[in-house]
């Protein structure tokens, strides 16, 4: 029986080693070369940071801040149900006193008669209606109506 022998393959492990070593050397060399191109700078001197106070310029205060505020004079609001004085007609003359009953005691003479509905003094009179502030009508929305219940909970029926 003839035995065929498998041909021996060339031993290339040395070549592989050589290629790997060369590639590794090229990588490391390239890295070293690139690093040498841009060496980091060493900071020798500490950075000097000077903090300077801000320049404050004194300015005079504005007059509206220093002067006493003017309190606004609010006009007296005329109640709507009381007419202005110039709109009030002169009071009618007092009606004649009815004849008193003879049994009624006479009034004391020292008591002055009470003035019938004398108008208030001028100082207490409200200002004319033209001084009243303008009124703005504000509409308040009506609350939403409650929805009709779909069911009612109560003790078992």
């Amino acid at each position: 029986m003839n035995q065929t022998r498998k041909p021996m393959r060339a031993d290339v492990s040395g070549l592989k080693w050589a290629i790997s070593t060369a590639a590794l050397a090229a990588t490391i060399g390239g890295w070293g070369w690139l690093t040498a191109q841009n060496p980091p700078e060493v900071a020798i001197a500490a950075p000097q940071i000077a903090v300077q106070p801000p320049a404050v310029e004194r300015q005079p205060l504005p007059p509206w801040l220093t002067d006493d505020p003017m309190l606004p004079v609010l006009p007296t609001v005329v109640p709507l149900n009381i007419p202005a004085r110039d709109q009030v007609a002169a009071p009618p003359p007092a009606p004649a006193a009815p004849p008193r009953a003879p049994a009624a005691p006479p009034p004391a003479p020292a008591a002055p008669p009470r003035a019938p509905a004398a108008p208030p003094p001028a100082s207490a009179a409200p200002p004319p209606a033209s001084a009243a502030p303008a009124l703005r009508e504000v509409t308040i929305p009506a609350p939403a109506p409650a929805p009709a219940p779909a069911a009612r909970t109560r003790s078992s029926r």
Partner: protein, 313 residues
């Protein structure tokens, strides 16, 4: 908006569907049939109901029950657990002793049942359930009543089922279950009745989902041997509860929880009930004292309609 009312489970039940579709009629019919079917299974007043069949087998060991009774009983037992046994399905015998032995419409406010001394309600934990075989064993002397619990459970079920197609509100005799907001996203307006004045309500609640229930001693009561009784049993005494409250309304994530909480508050009374309610998450209450005083939990205003609130908000 369409609605239909009918009598079921001892109460007037109203179903409201926020839809104009003509197909909603079939939904009404389905809901009505469900209420009727569940009443036949879960009622204590129907002699041939599954519940009464189980009650007749008290003390005879495990009994196999149907799917509906099993689920309703599990729900009632869960509520008993949540309420520390204050709302328990084991009150059937106590209700019978108090004279509530037939449908309330047939009582005419008077019960002629024999007057017996009430005794504490048996512990609900004595009820043995086997989920693998779906059997229930109740001890001798115990009688189950699923009354309000079954009604609330059915209403929640119907609201959930119809809510897949339409926004739905189910009002089971004043206990209300909601499937979700209305078509336009707005909440459902629900009025809380005033037990002293029938016409004006105490508050208008705006709810999108969950449930609201009112429990009270102002209506379902009767004269029994010269003594006023009502349907709410205190399991600690076996007697109708003596409480300082007239009604308790609770808003909760589900109608079943709301109904359970309202009963617990009524049993505990105003002070203890408010403390209990404060420990419950996502619940709000509105209580009416016997002297007319109205007590609100701080968070109940979140659900109340206010004049600044738009109905579509």
């Amino acid at each position: 908006m369409q609605q239909r009312s009918f009598w079921a489970m001892g109460s007037t039940t109203t179903i409201v569907i926020d839809s104009d579709e003509a197909n909603a009629r079939s939904a009404f019919a389905g809901a009505y049939q469900t209420f009727r079917a569940y009443e036949r299974i879960l009622s204590r007043f129907q002699p041939h109901s599954d519940l009464n069949a189980l009650n007749r087998c008290a003390g005879r060991g495990p009994q196999r029950v149907g799917q509906t009774l099993w689920r309703a009983l599990q729900h009632a037992l869960w509520m008993a657990y949540r309420s520390d046994g204050l709302v328990t399905p084991a009150v059937g015998e106590a209700l019978h002793t108090a004279g509530y032995d037939r449908d309330f419409r047939q009582m005419a406010g008077i019960s002629a049942a024999d007057l017996r001394t009430p005794s504490p309600v048996p512990d609900w934990r004595l009820i043995q359930c086997d989920p693998r075989r779906r059997t229930v064993a109740i001890p001798a002397g115990m009688r189950l009543d699923l009354g309000g619990s079954a009604k609330g459970w059915t209403a929640t079920l119907i609201a959930r089922r119809l809510g897949r197609r339409y926004p739905t509100l189910v009002d089971a005799g004043g206990d209300i279950a909601l499937s979700g907001p209305r078509r336009d996203g707005s909440p459902w307006p629900i009025e809380v009745a005033d037990p002293f004045h029938p016409d004006p309500g105490l508050a208008l609640l705006m709810l999108r989902r969950g449930g609201v229930a009112t429990s009270g001693v102002d209506y379902r009561r009767w004269l029994h041997r010269g003594k006023w009784q009502h349907h709410l049993i205190d399991p600690r005494t076996g007697d109708p509860v003596r409480t300082d409250l007239l009604t308790a309304t609770v808003i909760a994530p589900t109608l079943s929880l709301a109904e359970m909480a309202a009963k617990v508050i009524l049993i505990l009374g105003a002070e203890s009930g408010l403390h209990w309610l404060a420990d419950q998450p996502n619940m709000a209450g509105l209580l009416v004292h016997r002297d007319g005083q109205i007590i609100r939990t701080p968070n109940v205003d979140r659900y109340c309609w206010q004049s600044s609130m738009s109905a579509n908000r």
